[in-house]
């Protein structure tokens, strides 16, 4: 049983004070100041006055900036959908793998995930760029076909794989796929297998069992997988920065530019907090989805 804090006051105070202090001073206060800045105005080069203005938010909701928000949401949504489609069969395969193989398959999925994000993104540059591996392979195949047919394909043009939205989505799927597979696996692993067997015994095919039995039962896991893929994808900075270039900016790149180059902190602060609010909304929506099936069962 948990103890009331009154029974061991000094220990409670000692144990709580340090984490609470750290959380408040080195996390809440920095974010709080950004929040205050979002209602401020630039006065001169370095001074910011808290005027309680909403103009930063108004500017953030102007079409140009709103478009970037919507595009970021779109890219994160496509990334999440792709991760779900690619990751679900993987999670399924791991779930039904022999017990001895399971930890190794999990390791297989997790190992790239533990590798430095910057290095993983950098590795993709070598794959996608104009003289990258994909284009090299394409060029090689192209030349062979051309050689056989006497130049029927015409002149070689490298595929535009870098510095566009495709590169960003590709990179985000590459980086975030393990985020999706883990929660899917941990839900699928807890499923009552006799229900699947019952469905198969009663004549449903594997595909039908998958969509009518497995997916509804794994709903909570799917929802949490979507959430923890969507949130980092939405706020990602490095992938659009290195793979996307000027035409494929996401919201985090705009925030960075406001703080580092444009030196418009109040506007950058407003954008940051809109991103934070969007994150919280996503979490709240997931919470609602998770509660619903639980409520209907009880």
């Amino acid at each position: 049983m948990e103890q009331s804090w009154r029974q061991a006051k000094s220990m409670f105070a000692a144990m709580l004070s340090v984490p609470l202090f750290w959380l408040v001073v080195f996390f809440m206060v920095p974010l709080g100041i950004v929040w205050l800045y979002s209602f401020g105005e630039n006065r001169g080069l370095v001074d910011i006055a808290f005027t309680g203005t909403w103009s930063n938010y108004a500017r953030a909701l102007e079409w140009d900036n709103l478009a970037i928000f919507l595009k970021s949401i779109g890219i994160a949504a496509i990334t999440t959908a792709l991760c779900l489609v690619i990751g679900f069969p993987v999670a399924l395969a791991i779930t039904f793998a022999p017990e001895k193989v399971k930890p190794w398959l999990l390791l297989l999925i997790m190992l790239p995930f533990w590798t430095n994000l910057l290095i993983r993104t950098y590795a993709l540059i070598a794959v996608l760029r104009e003289q990258g591996y994909i284009n090299m392979g394409y060029h090689w195949g192209f030349d062979i076909v051309n050689g056989l047919t006497g130049g029927a394909l015409g002149e070689f043009h490298a595929l535009p794989l870098m510095y566009n939205n495709f590169a960003v989505v590709f990179g985000l799927v590459f980086v975030n796929l393990p985020f999706m597979i883990l929660p899917l696996y941990s839900t699928l692993d807890r499923l009552d297998r006799s229900l699947l067997e019952a469905s198969l015994d009663l004549g449903a095919g594997h595909i039908r069992t998958l969509f009518n039995v497995v997916v509804p039962m794994a709903g909570a896991g799917i929802a949490s997988g979507i959430l923890i893929t969507f949130i980092p994808a939405l706020g990602s900075y490095l992938t659009p920065d290195l793979l996307g270039g000027a035409d494929a900016l996401m919201i985090a790149n705009v925030i960075e530019a406001q703080f580092k180059r444009a030196n418009n902190w109040p506007f950058g602060a407003a954008l940051s907090f809109l991103l934070v609010y969007m994150t919280f909304i996503a979490i709240a929506v997931q919470g609602l989805i998770e509660r619903k099936p639980a409520g209907s069962r009880s």
């Binding site: 804090w5 220990m11 409670f12 144990m15 709580l16 984490p19 959380l23 080195f26 996390f27 920095p30 950004v34 690619i86 069969p89 399924l92 395969a93 779930t95 039904f96 022999p98 930890p103 999990l106 390791l107 297989l108 997790m110 190992l111 790239p112 533990w114 430095n116 994000l117 910057l118 290095i119 993983r120 950098y122 590795a123 070598a126 794959v127 760029r129 591996y133 090299m136 590459f174 796929l177 985020f179 883990l182 929660p183 941990s186 699947l196 067997e197 198969l200 949490s224 949130i231 980092p232 939405l234 706020g235 490095l238 925030i255 960075e256 703080f259 902190w265 940051s272 991103l275 994150t279």
Partner: protein, 290 residues
């Protein structure tokens, strides 16, 4: 798998033995590992262009090791990771124990507060750190090493210790509280009972949490990018500036070294906590909620 097992057709639920799923696993594995393996292979390639294999060489490793700013950045990263891990483990374990042991007003608020650093987008936290260390607590630039890294260490602890708390709490759930009560009945003080009974029980999770915090710190680019000054460049920040400049085999060599370090750390984590260490803190917060 033995030959005799292979001959039997897969049972209805043995999806892993069906070829479409196996083929899919292979495709996904190639997708996840192909870029990284090619990066590592081409760090040994004797060609600046980095695309066609021109023979084995170690000269880019030599170059990387002779690049003093790269080595300094690597040293900074390891130093930051070391100190931030040390602090994160202590602070995170304290948070976990408080939440596990006590009933108090505002407990759920504190619990929710601890989850925020885990979910808030990195860029927002980075921006917060930038503002904090620019306006509220300016960190002196010319401090002797390693004190000049203090701001980055503080920022890293802020996003690492909640993860440690999650890991330690999961372990505490399996602790039998009667053991602590027995220790107290036998005359141990609150503090003694905590240090001699509870802490040994959570020790594996402390190690797993430490490895997690260490990797998170080594991995972080965005928050460091906003916190670092010109004299406090970390390895990811340095690699970032090199990558922006050009794609060179030297970056490949440096990256390969870091990948090897990470893989070794992962296997260490496995050794200490079994396969659950793999997913520590990354299972969608499922451990927190349940």
């Amino acid at each position: 798998m033995t030959a005799s097992v292979k001959k039997t057709p897969p049972a209805p639920l043995e999806y892993f033995r069906r070829w479409p799923l196996r083929a899919w696993m292979v495709v996904v594995t190639v997708f996840l590992y192909g870029p990284l393996l090619s990066l590592m292979v081409f760090s040994f390639n004797d060609s600046k262009a980095n695309v066609v294999w021109r023979g084995f060489t170690l000269k880019y490793y030599e170059k990387a090791f002779n690049n003093s700013s790269l080595i300094e950045a690597f040293g900074n990263s390891l130093t930051i990771a070391f100190f931030s891990t040390l602090i994160s483990v202590v602070v995170g374990a304290m948070a976990a124990i408080v939440l596990w042991r006590f009933r108090f007003a505002g407990k759920s608020l504190f619990n929710a507060g601890l989850a925020i650093p885990i979910v808030v987008p990195e860029i927002c936290m980075g921006v917060g750190m930038l503002v904090f260390f620019a306006k509220v607590m300016p960190w002196p630039q010319d401090l002797p090493w390693p004190l000049n890294l203090g701001a980055i260490i503080i920022a890293h602890v802020s996003f690492s210790f909640p993860f440690v708390a999650v890991v330690v709490r999961a372990r505490l759930a399996s602790f039998n509280r009667e053991q602590e009560e027995a220790a107290k009945d036998l005359g141990a003080s609150d503090f003694r009972a905590l240090m001699d009974v509870v802490v040994p029980h959570v020790q594996p999770s402390l190690i797993a949490g430490a490895l997690l915090a260490f990797t998170l710190s080594l991995d972080d680019f965005v928050i460091t990018f906003f916190t670092a000054g010109p004299d406090t460049v970390t390895f990811p920040v340095k690699v970032y500036s090199m990558v922006r400049f050009s794609v060179t085999p030297e970056v490949n060599a440096a990256s390969t070294i870091l990948i090897v370090v990470t893989v070794l750390l992962t296997f260490l984590a496995l050794k200490f906590q079994g396969s659950s260490a793999l997913t520590a803190g990354h299972d969608g917060g499922a451990a927190e909620k349940k």
